[in-house]
């Protein structure tokens, strides 16, 4: 397979097209605009739809419309834009519609900055809109993984009839790395008999709806959705472990931060410190079992994030607060360095233990 050098944003867009994405609705915002630009160039050539919406609110509702017809559809934005999409995402979840949403995170709150950040973890995993619902959240840490997870994001969205999100950041979006695409990608087809695409007088009319005025009925519908979530939590959590077998200190980091953290783990090992890394690839469902198992013999954990500490709550819950979970983070667009993380590891572990 040919290796291509591509920006994360562009690779992600190409991967979406190869995964059967037929409609893309976007709105410019740094650092994800290359996704829109790539779609604008490619979509007309493959008979797909690219449309620059009047706002992020417009874009997410166009996604709602296209998803209602059973079409594979995607939108992308960065942090402040995702906040604007929150309303639509809640409706999409409440209407049981599949779609893929990209967040190439930047620093916040407010207009914040434009440099890489992971400060939208809480938003993505806990409250991407009002109401009782979840979104499956993927956290790639290489450009290749941006590609690989997009196909999975579309498939799981269809299988579970729910929105899925790729939670990337400005670093992954802007960097170029070698990437390979499968030569012949088959696109999985799923049942779309629920779609509002015109009944051709052959079936009863389909209704896409999130309004249920009877409390009992609404409760039932939410409970049904949570049964699906339970299944997802059991079957779809993903994480990679690195040198955790004999680790005395287990680091937990995702996305771009996981790359930096892995370098820090290598530096620690060179100094004789038994460090390891668990890298969640899904943030919801959170890979709690992976973390619990990987840290069974460790004496402490260290969560590293580009935020003031958001994922750390889930790490503590994963091990039922049975061990100390330390935190190191940079925020506002500052990227932690391997040396900074190494210092933190050394402080916690008290230096080399042979």
């Amino acid at each position: 397979m040919e290796r291509n050098l591509m920006k994360g944003n562009e690779a992600l867009a190409e991967a979406a097209i190869r995964a059967g994405c037929k409609c893309f609705f976007g709105y410019p915002i740094t650092p994800q605009t290359e996704i829109s630009a790539y779609m604008a160039k490619r979509m007309p050539k493959i008979g797909g739809v690219f449309l620059q919406a009047e706002s992020e609110i417009g874009a997410i509702n166009m996604v709602l419309g296209a998803a209602s017809t059973g079409t594979r559809v995607m939108t992308s934005s960065s942090s402040p834009g995702i906040s604007l999409k929150a309303e639509g995402i809640s409706y999409i979840a409440g209407s049981d519609l599949p779609c893929v949403i990209i967040n190439v995170q930047r620093g916040g709150p407010g207009l914040g900055g434009i440099q890489p950040s992971q400060a939208d973890y809480w938003q993505a995993t806990k409250a991407l809109g009002h109401g009782d619902f979840h979104v499956i959240v993927f956290a790639p840490s290489t450009v290749q993984e941006m590609v690989d997870l997009v196909t999975k994001a579309f498939d799981l969205a269809d299988i579970y009839r729910m929105p899925t999100m790729i939670l990337a950041d400005g670093l992954l979006g802007q960097m170029m790395e070698p990437v390979t695409f499968p030569d012949q990608q088959s696109i999985n087809e799923y049942d779309k008999s629920w779609a509002a695409d015109g009944h051709k007088n052959k079936r009863k009319h389909n209704i896409i709806n999130s309004l249920i005025l009877s409390p009992e009925d609404l409760e039932k519908s939410v409970q049904e959705r949570f049964e699906r979530y339970d299944k997802i939590a059991k079957e779809e959590a993903m994480a990679q472990c690195y040198l955790t077998d004999d680790a005395d200190i287990v680091l937990v980091a995702y996305g771009a931060t996981a790359r930096v953290t892995q370098s820090a783990v290598d530096l620690a090992r060179e100094k004789g410190i038994k460090a390891g890394l668990v890298r969640p690839q899904t943030l919801w469902p959170f890979p709690a079992d992976h973390i619990r198992t990987a840290s069974e013999n460790a004496s402490s954990l260290l969560c590293v994030e580009m935020s003031m500490g958001q994922m750390i709550d889930d790490v503590k819950l994963a091990i039922n607060c049975s061990k100390p979970v330390h935190f190191y983070g940079r925020t506002g667009g500052v990227i932690p360095t391997p040396t900074e993380i190494l210092t933190e590891i050394e402080n916690i572990s008290g230096g080399a233990k042979e």
């Binding site: 739809v49 509702n61 509002a196 695409d197 389909n206």
Partner: protein, 254 residues
């Protein structure tokens, strides 16, 4: 065969596109009339199997139960964006939205104006009854100067609450709009005209002419505090002078 059966001809029946269910609309509300006109147009154009309706938040949010075509419920104000997504994904379907004045001209102004200026090939049925019906009669963007509502208890003061928006006139200035007409359903003559306008808008859509909007002056007896007949009179005397009926844009006539 009895004599009566031989001589009786059915002259009025429920359109096929309209579901045989009771509606939740208040007595005297004109939503029912407009629903029927849309359903008749769908029947006459034989497009029930291709039609997809989008109804956002407002009194008509549950219209998905009343039309027999595929239906989508949209967030408040976002119907034109949702309809855009539907139409772009399925360009050969007939896509319409059914929106109230608060929905279309306040919270959804951006979506409305941009769908119009893109020449999005959809049809908007816009119900202008000068009030927020569902939430109990607050000021709408179309509430008349001096009109009393729950949130303009002393009458709409244009110094503080601004002026009503004339939607058809405003949208008619946009190049993407193929057809814009304001109609009313206050009497039989106007109901027939409204029917013609709605059908024409759907026909334009099938011919891919661009964005079409039919603004329908409607009554809200409950929130106006008037009985149905007086409401129709109020519409004629107060709304029509401010919102003159007529065709504001017709691409074909130009």
């Amino acid at each position: 065969m009895s004599n009566t059966e031989k001589t009786t001809k059915k002259v009025f029946t429920r359109p096929n596109a309209l579901a045989d269910v009771p509606t939740h609309y208040c007595p005297g509300c004109t939503h029912g009339i407009v629903h029927r006109l849309i359903a008749e147009a769908i029947d006459e154009l034989d497009c029930l199997g291709d039609a997809i309706g989008v109804c956002p938040v407002g009194c008509s949010v549950m219209a998905y139960d009343y039309f027999n075509c595929d239906m989508i419920q949209a967030p408040h104000g976002r119907a034109p964006a949702v309809a855009t997504g539907v139409k772009r994904a399925k360009p050969d379907n007939i896509v319409f939205t059914y929106q109230g004045d608060g929905d279309l001209a306040a919270i959804g102004t951006g979506e409305t104006v941009h769908a119009a200026t893109r020449g999005e090939n959809i049809t908007i049925i816009f119900i202008n009854n000068t009030t927020y019906g569902m939430t109990g009669g607050q000021m709408a963007p179309t509430t008349l100067p001096g009109q009393v509502t729950q949130t303009t208890p002393y009458g709409r003061d244009t110094d503080t609450a601004g002026f009503p928006i004339r939607v058809s006139e405003m949208l008619a200035t946009l190049d993407g709009v193929a057809y814009a007409e304001r109609v009313s359903v206050d009497n039989i003559k106007n109901v027939n005209r409204a029917k013609k306008a709605i059908k024409k808008a759907f026909e334009y859509q099938t011919q891919k002419k661009g964005f079409t909007i039919i603004e329908v002056l409607s009554t809200c007896p409950t929130n106006w505090g008037l009985d149905p007949v007086k409401s129709l009179k109020w519409l004629e005397e107060n709304m029509m002078p401010y919102y003159p009926l007529g065709v504001y844009k017709d691409k074909e006539a130009q």
